[in-house]
Each structure stands twice: as structure tokens, then as C-alpha cells.
Amino acid sequence: MDLQTLTYIVVGFTFALYMGIAVWARAGSTKEFYVAGGGIHPVANGMATGADWMSAASFIGMAGLIAFMGYGGSVFLMGWTGGFVVLAMLLAPYLRKYGKFTVPEFIGDRFYSRGARIVAVICLIICSVTYVIGQMKGIGVAFSRFLEVSYDTGLLVGMFIVFFYAVLGGMKGITYTQIAQYCVLILAYTIPAIFISLNLTGNPLPQLGFGSTLVGTDVYLLDRLDQVVTELGFAEYTTQVRLSTTNMFAYTMSLMIGTAGLPHVIIRFFTVPKVKDARSSAGWALVFIAILYTTAPAVAGMARLNLMSTIEPAPGQHLAYDERPQWFKNWETTGLLKFEDKNGDGRIQYTADTATNEMVKVDRDIMVLANPEIAQLPNWVIALVAAGGLAAALSTAAGLLLAISSAISHDLLKGVIMPDISEKQELMASRIAMAVAIAGAGYLGFNPPDFAAGTVALAFGLAASSIFPALMMGIFSKRINKEGAIWGMIGGITVTLLYVFQHKGIMFIPGTSFLGGMDANWFLGIEPNAFGVIGALVNFGVANLVSRLTAEPPEEVQELVEHIRVPMGVTEAHDH
């Protein structure tokens, strides 16, 4: 069977599965729509959280990034996993005990202020929308590459699938679908990795193979990789620092607390029955995430080695362009791989020197997708990778859309604009909000704004500098009051935004840096993507200062803080 047919069968089968689950898991109440009824087993919730968390960026992008960043890429590995430790110990159990539906709702109640709730809704919508654009693009790209339909058709099909199970089932439908999607994406990620690890090292576990010797030699894979890249003038793979140690520190910390502050991850912990389950569920989520995240660096290193040794099998012996393998040709037609015969010898020279380098373009995103082809794996594995990429993008998109729609229907509509609507009306409103959110995200997917690429950093920066500190102080301090929280969030966001805008232009319009003439990364050499942690520090500082200068929070709020610190007397996630 040819690859095309096989891919259609595998992807079609997974889609039928998601639709079947949607019909089976319809939501009948707002509680089912927002928190899946609050009865999800912690292991199941962990798996759903894993799929929710691992996006197209984790599945397709991350290993490619690491392949070219080497050791510097560790910031993503540690940042996107270490955040769950922060979440499990500082936030999840307490927010579960509080037992409401959304993150802004907690901020509004704890800081006894509608203003704080609205500020939180705005932060939530900005970080989720910037994030969802990336997923929509991922869906379109995966379809167009594997199923040879246009980007727009692919996006439409993806929107239809998400629409079907998210509008019908809400959190309940999304949770059960995400469990299925986790299984698809983890198989699709690990199977090629196992094959490749076996080919190179003879060890089936990529985590061990990455630290083993190459088949038939006593040279360690990593030593060989270091040698190959340095010979061509690239930085040594295992010691290549990202800008500076300070920058790596800030980057990792920003990603960690940004992870812990992202609303679509936090709301997952409202779906388990007990406080105890919220703690263990975070552990299970990280187990399921760690399977991919410990495989990714091995995939990255092995892909880089495979790429290099295909082009230059032995030192000084360059691959003739006419003899290039099929995958090379396939990716050339997509424009993601480009060769330019600068010295006219008909052979491929790949070096770090831009004057002589002939691989003028190697898009990082192709590393995971091309990996099975480079390693000459059977067609069904390649078909599975397509289904896995789609599962990763769909599951994250659905989780984000739920966070957006519940903020609109529950926090804005029910909480602020029309507090008197009935449960049935709210359920209808949440379905409509979901449909509108999908249409909006789809629109942004068809017409990605110019600044789309620059805003992903903003999602983490915003979550780290606004939502995370507000939640943490709300739980661990009784003294932080309404004024402190609001000014802290505004201060943290502003500082982060200003730093990003100063580098990338106001609202990402190039050339509008208002503080023109400043050096790049002027603050301690920290790049804008890593600045969330500084924003968070500003937030903590401002909130503490302002709170000390203004009145203490009222008695009942201090009692609320006491209440959420103790598991007993758990309230089920409910309305009021």
C-alpha cells in the first residue's frame, strides 16, 4: 500500500475515534462542560493533561530546536517539565480545594474585586489566543504536508473535528478525547525514536541509546556528534550555551513559572474528585510528559548526527548533489531545505561558515517529520507520525479553546454582565462561546497576523508575570490585598511587554522600538523570551509594597485563605 493511502487510513481511523468519543461523552450540565463533572480519575486526568500540554510545538518543533541548539536547548526540557513541580506544590491542590470552575474566578474572589477578575480574564485571553494561533497553524501544516490537501482545507477539517467534540462535550468530551490523543501521539513519537536508537546504537531505549556507543565501534554517540559538528566549525553540541548562563537561568525559570501559570493547564486540576488527587495527578501528568521529554533530546541528537553523516559520510568526503536521497528531494520541494552549489563542484558542503556553507536553509521543523524517512523506516511509521502531529495540535487547541470559552461565558457573562442567567442558559452560552472561539481561532489560522511567531513567547511571559504571582500570593499570603494584586499584575505585565516591544517593535511592528539605540538583550543579557521571570519579580515587589501601604483584606477573605490550605471539607467544583 502506498504511503498516501496508508496515511489517510491511519488519520481517518483516529478521527473516527475522536468523533465516537464525542458522541459518547456529551455534557449535560455546566459542571460537566467546565470541569467534566469533577469525577475524572487522577491517572486519566494526568494523561489528558499530558496531551493538553504537549502541543504541535512539543511534538514537531522542540526536538528540531534542540538539534541545532544542543545543550542550550535544555532550557525547554527543564522549563516545560519543572513547571509541573511548581504547579503540584504551590498551586494545584489549593485551587482544587477552592473548588470553582475558572482561574479568574479564584482571583476575583480571593482579591474580592471584580476588577481583579477582569484583569485576569484579559491576561488569560491574551495568553490563550496567542497560543492557539500556533496550534491552528500546526493543524494546517500537518494536513498539507501529509495528506497533500491545501493548508486551508486542512485547517477547515481540523476546525470541524474540534468543533464537534468541544462544543458537544465541553471539558468532558475534551478530556476523554485527549486520553485517546495522548496514546496516538506518544506511540507516534516513541516508535520512530526506538527504531533510530536501535539503528545507531543497538539499544532500543533512546534515553539509554543516547549515552551509548555507536554500533560496531567503541565511540560514544555524543563524542562522535561533538566531533562531527566541531570539525565543520559549529559549536560543540554538549556544551553549546544559549547566550549566557544568566540567560539560560532566566529562560528556564520563565518557562517553569509560565507553565504553572497557564490557565488551560491549571483548569485540568479542577476535574479530579479530591485535593489528594490533584497532587498525584500532577505527578501522573509529568510521567506521561516525561516519556516524550526524555525521548526528545535523544531524537534531537540522533537526527543531527544522521543529517550530518548523510551529507558528509567521512571527513572531507562530501555527498554528491545528484546522489542525494529521496527525503532530501521531498523536503527541497517544500522549500524547507535549500541547497546552493557555491563552489560549483556538484557536492554538498555543510559548514558553519556562511560564505562557504551550501545548505543555505535547513528548517528546524523538518527534523522530527523527516526523521523516519532519513532512517528509512516503514511507511506505516511515517503515517503514524502524521496522526501523532495532528493529535498533539488538536488536543492542545481544544484545551485552550475551553479555557477561553469558559472565561467568556462563566467569568464575563455569568460573573459580570448577566449574573442571573439559569444553568441551562449558561450551558447554552458556553457552547456558543466555544463555537465563537473556534471560529475566531480559525480566522487567525487562515490569516496569521504578522506577529504570530513573536507572540508565543508572550504567552509564557504573560502567564509568568501576571497570573502565576497573583495565584501564588493569593494562597501563601493573607496580607496581599485587592490593590496589591491588581497593581502587581499590571506592573508585571507592563514590564514584560515593554521589554518585548523594545526588541520587536510596539505590537510587533518592526522599527517602532521607542527606546531606539539600546543594545539587544541589554538587561543582564537576557533575551525577551526569557524575561517573564523579571516581570514576575516586579509583580511580587509591587504587590507587596502596595499591600503594605493599603488596608488589610477583610476577615472573610482571610478565612477563605485558611480554608483552601486544608484538604478536609472539600467542596466539589461548583457554581456558588
Binding site: 503540584a88 543516547f210 485535593v275 489528594k276 516525561a290 486544608v566 478536609m568
Partner: protein, 88 residues
């Protein structure tokens, strides 16, 4: 809340925070410590084909994170029972 006394409530929270701080120290040491600040020193030690600092940054920190959350979850369960504030 079902604490026997005000002191119990204070003691419970104190033990909770102290457990959390200890585990956050481990969290910090394996990632920011071994993976970033001390990476050059640790890279002088080999773990199979891995340089040790590199291994912490790309493998070891993640394994430790998983263990930390389960340890925390178990310890907190025991603490809840000790003070009689666990869920039914």
C-alpha cells in the same frame, strides 16, 4: 476546619511549608544547580557516554521532578492523616 486547636492548624501549615521548601531546594539543585550553574564542573564526570552536567540538563532533572511530585503527594497524604484533616 476540623483542627483540634489553633496550634494544630499552625503546626500543620508549618510542616506543609517546610516539606515544600525542602523539595523546592532539590528541584532547584537538580535543574538550576546541576543543569546550569555547575554544568561545567559536572561535565568533567562521565555517566556512560553522557557528560554528567549535560545528562542532568537533558535527562536527570526530569526524572527527579517526577519523583519529587510523587514523594510530595505521599508525604502530604501522611500529614493530612496525622492532623486528621484528610478527605473522606
Amino acid at each position: 476546619m476540623a483542627f483540634k486547636s489553633e496550634e494544630d492548624a499552625k503546626a500543620y501549615w508549618k510542616e506543609n511549608v517546610s516539606l515544600m521548601v525542602k523539595l523546592m531546594v532539590v528541584w532547584f539543585v537538580v535543574s538550576f544547580g546541576c543543569g546550569i550553574l555547575l554544568v561545567d564542573v559536572l561535565n568533567n564526570i562521565q555517566l556512560g557516554g553522557y557528560k554528567l552536567g549535560f545528562w542532568f540538563a537533558q535527562q536527570g532533572a526530569i526524572y527527579t521532578f517526577v519523583a519529587l511530585i510523587f514523594y510530595y503527594s505521599r508525604k502530604m497524604g501522611a500529614l493530612d492523616r496525622k492532623y486528621g484533616v484528610h478527605e473522606e
